[in-house]
């Protein structure tokens, strides 16, 4: 770990006192500290935000829920409102990591966790995300867990968060605060970038910009399902995950939202699949057409080729489950 300066802050106003470019926010630390030990992240300064008063869940007037950034993954997953109204989010959170990690992990930290690409973690190997211009070791290397959609020649990494997939399907928004105090709102879907020529940039956040909260809108009606496919039954990142909200009215799809995890550099909102399904009958054949529509541009890099059929099959299976369940989620 490279020596660094540590400062605990108690109000967001204190952020502006530092040169924001040099500092990193420390929340639960379950990802950042690991990366600092490996000297993959080498901040000059750590601003410990864990004592900020940003750990509450608040009902919004329109039926939504505002989740402050320091709400832990455990607290969020077990909140009765979340379990009842946004079960997709609760299920996604509970499928991630372990109870111990979830007790410590925060909402903002979870969104900003970095890729698990093996080469990103091995500082002896070239990696454009770590050192732009160095090359990508994964393209021709071990890439079982890598992207099939939206990758670039520079980087084929995936974003590992389960929670983010649910938030994208639920169309949640972020409240962000720049170092100078300006606030802005941003759909979670727009937070993460595709790698393009700048895989070193995971997100569109400006230096020093703080995630203050995530707001869940009142959910659209329909059955919510999160399905995570992985190599072991717990404590493994998703090979493919799918979040679905499906409403079927009188034998046709009234509304649908779909997001994939494990397929791209960001949680992947499957708008093509959604468009293909809307107003159609919820049949196996239509599910397949929808999945194929989304995956036309998918490509594998060897070890991860199987993710293309797996994504298709998992989406079909999840839509089938959602369509055939009696139980409708109350709104």
């Amino acid at each position: 770990m490279k020596p660094f300066e540590y400062r605990r802050i108690h109000t967001v106003e204190e952020i502006g006192h530092d040169d924001p470019g040099q500092a990193r926010f420390l929340a639960g630390g379950t990802n950042l500290i690991d990366l600092m030990k490996h000297e993959i992240e080498v901040p000059d300064r750590l601003l410990d935000i864990s004592r900020l008063k940003l750990a509450t869940l608040k009902d919004c007037e329109n039926g939504g829920l505002r989740v402050d950034t320091l709400v832990t993954n455990t607290a969020l997953a077990s909140d009765p409102r979340v379990r009842k109204t946004w079960p997709l989010l609760s299920a996604a959170l509970l499928s991630g990591a372990t109870a111990q990690l979830r007790n410590r992990a925060t909402t903002g930290g979870n969104l900003l966790q970095r890729t698990r690409c093996y080469y990103f973690y091995d500082t002896a190997r070239p990696c454009n995300k770590r050192n732009p211009g160095e090359g990508c070791s994964a393209r021709e290397g071990q890439n079982r867990i890598h992207a099939i959609l939206g990758a670039s020649d520079q980087c084929i990494a995936t974003h590992p968060s389960d929670m983010a997939v649910a938030l994208v399907a639920l169309e949640a928004t972020l409240t962000l605060r720049a170092a100078d105090g300006r606030e802005r709102e941003l759909p979670v879907e727009e937070l993460h970038r595709l790698p393009g020529d700048h895989p070193e940039q995971d997100t569109v956040l400006e230096p020093g910009e703080l995630i203050v909260a995530v707001t869940l809108p009142a959910p659209q009606p329909g059955r919510q399902i999160y399905r995570k496919v992985r190599d072991r039954s717990s404590y493994a990142f998703a090979l493919i995950s799918v979040g679905v909200i499906l409403q079927v009215v009188e034998g046709r799809v009234e509304s649908v939202r779909i997001a994939f995890g494990g397929v791209a550099h960001k949680p992947w909102r499957a708008r093509k699949a959604e468009a293909a399904l809307l107003n159609k009958a919820p049949t196996e054949a239509n599910f397949r057409l929808a999945a194929e529509a989304e995956l036309v541009d998918a490509r594998g890099y060897g070890h991860n080729d199987f993710k293309i059929p797996l994504a298709r099959r998992t989406l079909i299976a999840t839509l089938r489950d959602a369509a055939h369940s009696e139980e409708e989620v109350p709104t």
Partner: protein, 739 residues
Amino acid sequence: MTNPAAIGQPLDRVDGPLKVTGRATYAAEHAFDQPPLIGWMVEATIPAGRIKRLDTGAAEASPGVAAVLTHHNAPAQTPFGEPDDKGRFTQSRAMLFDEHIRYHGFPVALVIADTLANARHAGALIEISYEPDEEAVTTAGEEADEVPGELDGGMEPDLFKGDFEHAYDDAEVTLDVTYTTPNQAAAAMEPHATIADFDGDQLVVYMSVQLIGPSVKALANTLKIDPDKVRVLSPYIGGGFGSKLGVHNEAILACLGALHLGRPVKVVQHRRHVFHNAPHRGNSVQRIQLGASRDGKLQAIGHESFMPMARGYEFAEPTGASARTTYRTDAIKSTHRVKSTDMPLADSCRAPGHAIGSLAFESAIDEMAYQCGQDPLAFRLGNMPDRDPGTGQPFASHDLAECLREGAEKFGWPSREPQPGSRSQGRQLIGYGVASTIRLNILVPSKTRIRLSADGTLTAWADMTDIGTGTYTILTQIAAETMGLSADRIKIELGDSRYPSSSGSGGSFGAASSGSALLNACENMRTRLLESAREQGLIGDEPADDARFENGQLILGDKTLSFTEVLNKSGAAYLETDGEVEPGDDHDNYSQHSYGAQFAEVHVDRDTGEVRVQRLLGVFSAGRILNPKTARSQLLGGMVWGLSYALLEELMLDERYGAFMNRDLAEYHLPVNRDMPTIDIHFREHPDPRSNPLGSKGIGELSICGAGAAVANAVYHATGVRVRDFPITLDKILRHLPE
């Protein structure tokens, strides 16, 4: 009343309270008045070649750094691998010896500092450039063509019995398939760790090691010091699985650091180090050819094994062991070939030979059963041997058929649909699998000394180790039963090279070997006590055989004397006796194995190919069970490893760098609680007097052999898909499952 500590009783682990309260001192935890300095290992990033330039200036100037050790300044050592006529456990394991890189991850420097953080950061400041060897060999497969000197455990690399080619060509039903198993890590919970300290001019080494005696020799040899000047302590080990049999890299480095600085140095391998700096199991290619008559009688068994061998480190795994020992046949061809590679050291790992041998062989046997149109259980039962098929020796005992029968009944095997892929529940395909389990039963020379004190307590000493298996506990029971003492009167002292030389832990031989030596010492003690009592005139001349030893008392005729009385009367503060065991003719003349049968039920998701094991059942025959509780735990662990080999574990090799890429426990997949099915374990208890004086047999590695194949066979039965490339991850099933 039975002594609750007697052999066969489910005595709780005597070291349990120490472990769950954190008072059992593991290698890295030994405390000193002056805390040791901390060493951080800096690893090579090429598989082979030499160091061209090494600049340690910035590291040396970094805060807290006491020394940076490299091949330029490390103390003198014997060259790696010498003397070459000695086995790998005593040969030199020199580190920082010269500029040559043996494998990816090979230590090129040790940074020694006041804290781990300072050492680790300074490590990142070392600048190294390499001249890589362009010819580096980082893979091994079917092209392996070197004949190893001998196989681990002493088996011959090649075995030919009968006329294999003819028998195979003439067979009505034949099978010729190739199975592969990946590189696997031992993945013990406790990483390899060592503290090197001094006691006067003696080097005192606290380390996590399974075999103490050989490690003293290895350290003395490597460091060119007198073996008397080395003491090794290893009282507790947090799992070894073969990877801690010998001395490993951090131990040599800690000693070099301590010798260089004249101060204690601690080196704990980081989890990411362990994957390259502790030995692993190499990948295997196993070609299996079977020939049988149409009615399912095996006539030819062929097994060709191809594996890597780390250059300069002689170790060849007896992968063909299962093919040579399990079924009756007219002809056997079993060969082992290795290929020298520039890969990290390959060595023993969780049941070398049978574990991955049975994974492939018992899967192939299953294939053959289906080809002959037989139930896989019936096929196995129809091919039981009456002598050891490979050696022709008679069996000391043989209980495989009974294990299979009993297991089948308990598991509900008869309810199985014969046709693969024919049973489902919702989207889950359901399958049953079976496999035979067989594991070599070994006895190795072992010694013990015991002392019976006048206060009626007994202490036993041996340089034996307890790798978390329950050795302290079963030794307590052997002494308790033989001497008629309660557990709290007995103290077992292990893990110190000053104690009598024992078997150490490995190859499932620990309990039998160290236990038999202790039994012998206790029997000698009984004789001594009787003699002493007789000399004092405390007893008459009734035959010694009539004497009983109970509740700390000697009972003979109408006399009941406490041990304390006998000792007090004789004026001795204590009595000491030695005990030992040597494998005798029964091990030369008989085929000695433990047996079992394992059954698995799996569910396979027809959409995603995910496999979940629903239940595992095993029936085991391993002689006399010393403690059903610790025995069950051993078998339970082995079944979990078996499941893990079938479905999960794989070191992902990047051939370009000779490096395993998934070097952490998030990505090297071991089973977690949720992967664990219901596990049902039964014993068929038949003490085997030819095995050893206790009548017990090896149990530690038994259940891993076969458990994986039972799971793999269940996957086939569920899906009709036979995956021959382990582990069976979902992608390998998915491509064959209709959408």
